[in-house]
Amino acid sequence: MQTSTSKIAIATLTLALLAGCSSSGPEQPAAPTESKTPVAPSGPSGTPVAPSDVSGKTMTPEEALMASLKDPNSPLSKRIIYFDYDSYAIKDSYASLISAHAKVLAANPKLKMLIQGNTDERGSREYNLALGQRRAEAVKRALMLLGVQEVQIESVSLGEEKPRMEGSDEAAYAENRRSEMLYSGEF
């Protein structure tokens, strides 16, 4: 129930974002599509229970939180949101990922996040810096609409300067059009 509420919130948010940016170019989809294959998020708890580490010592709640952020089995380990060319609209398929991160941030008000927006290499470096900022800002606003405090998030842009994949083909371009989420201690 919790999950579907979040999804509706994200869908509404996506609509709002798209409406707000309806003038941002022909590459942008005209309308959002329904999330066709909703993936049920595994629902990370906002207050993670402290697991024991291998040495048997009990982790502090902060350590446990950081461990859960990096746990490959947790949706929180997924930190990248990809975008279409010339677009800063968040696709519906990222609803569960964003809601998972929103929950952990909302439940841990001292936790900070840096969102880095990135673009592919085509076109002006400075315009790409602005476009990357839009992509970071879109993720920030999505998180804030789900209850995260603005003071917890800084959105910055790396433009085209930090590609994940070198190369000048569509595969590299697609890999590089992204926003990445980093938590306290990771930036």
């Binding site: 002006s124 400075e126 810096l129 602005a130 839009r134 790396l158």
Partner: protein
Amino acid sequence: MFKVFRLMATTLLLAATAAHAQLTVEITGAGANRIPVAIANFAGDGLLPQALTGVVRADLERSGLFKLVDPGTTPVPENAAIDLNQWKDRGADALALASILPAPGGRYEVRMRLYDIARQNKPDGMIFLFGASTVRETGHRIADFIHEKLTGERGVYSTRIAYVVKTGKSYELKVDDADGQNPRTALRSSEPIISPAWSPDGTRLAYVSFQAKKPIIYVHSLATGAQTVVANFKGSNSAPAWSPDGKRLAVVLTKDGSSQIYTINPDGSGLSRIAGSSTIDTEPQFSPDGQYLYFTSDRGGSPQIYRVAAAGGTAERVTFEGSYNVSPRLSPDGKMLAYVSRNGGRFQVTVMDLASRQIQILTDSSRDESPSFAPNSRIILYASEVGGRGVLSAVSSDGRVKQKLSGQAGGDVREPAWGPFNQP
């Protein structure tokens, strides 16, 4: 034996290139009506550690505006009695003669005389005193003199350029002579450096560095190497551009959300917002009279160039053709706007005559970025790509002369900015 010598010479040349990482300039297109000029070997050139005649010849030839006429190998002093008809028969419209003499204090004096054969003007002359370490600078100043006398416009041989070289994961901000032969590293970083911009007095560079893991604007004194933070607000800080009087910088900040244009003092004080929109506004550039800010905005649905009064007000759209027009740069004479337009997936340097609003695509390349006018408004330096590597190229603002500046293997050269006439 002969072969061995040649091999040694080649090795030596390679070593010199690697040590200085110079850019070599290759003319890939020349003006239709190049002025034929003869530069006779300067008398006394052998006194100098480096031949002065060669610097002058290379400068003039590289401009694409002059054609060098073979002057023979005999040095001719500036006060020699000459038969101009004989030089005319060789095809020269102009003739430069010079003598180099020892001067007190280990210095040298060069006396140069320029005969304008075609227009039969009285010969012009100049005298320079210089030291052994400033042979190249002296050559550039002689070339500037000849250029101005024969074309009526100032030469830019004595000016400097800045650019960024990326080698592996290392970024270097370079300051170089306009001929690419004297590169010096102003800043080395393991994080990207973009958008260098010269202060109007030529003493400082503003730029964006990612050294603190996000874009922050700095001003860098070239004399001292001191780096001052100009803008480090929440979010991204980028796209610095100096006002013509050097007292303000236009910058782009995202502290309130999307990229917006502000002005600020070079010491980081006195922040003031210029234009407000909820869309992307970036790449501000002052017009040379300081009255307007030109900038890129996607407020109309695609990135286009707009302008707004520097004091603020309503923005006016400047570019209309095509769906991607970015990186506006005003010519120093205020008559032209250079920018990058996307045409069928190719990004090309384009120029607009501001009076007639006529546009011309100047290049036939496809990955052009960051145009920068020479201070005489006649040449546009820009970043391009050849074989997947970043290179600098130049095109005359009428599109006729094209040059390629190639660096050493392995380096990606980008983000050029042509400095002002002013030399500190």
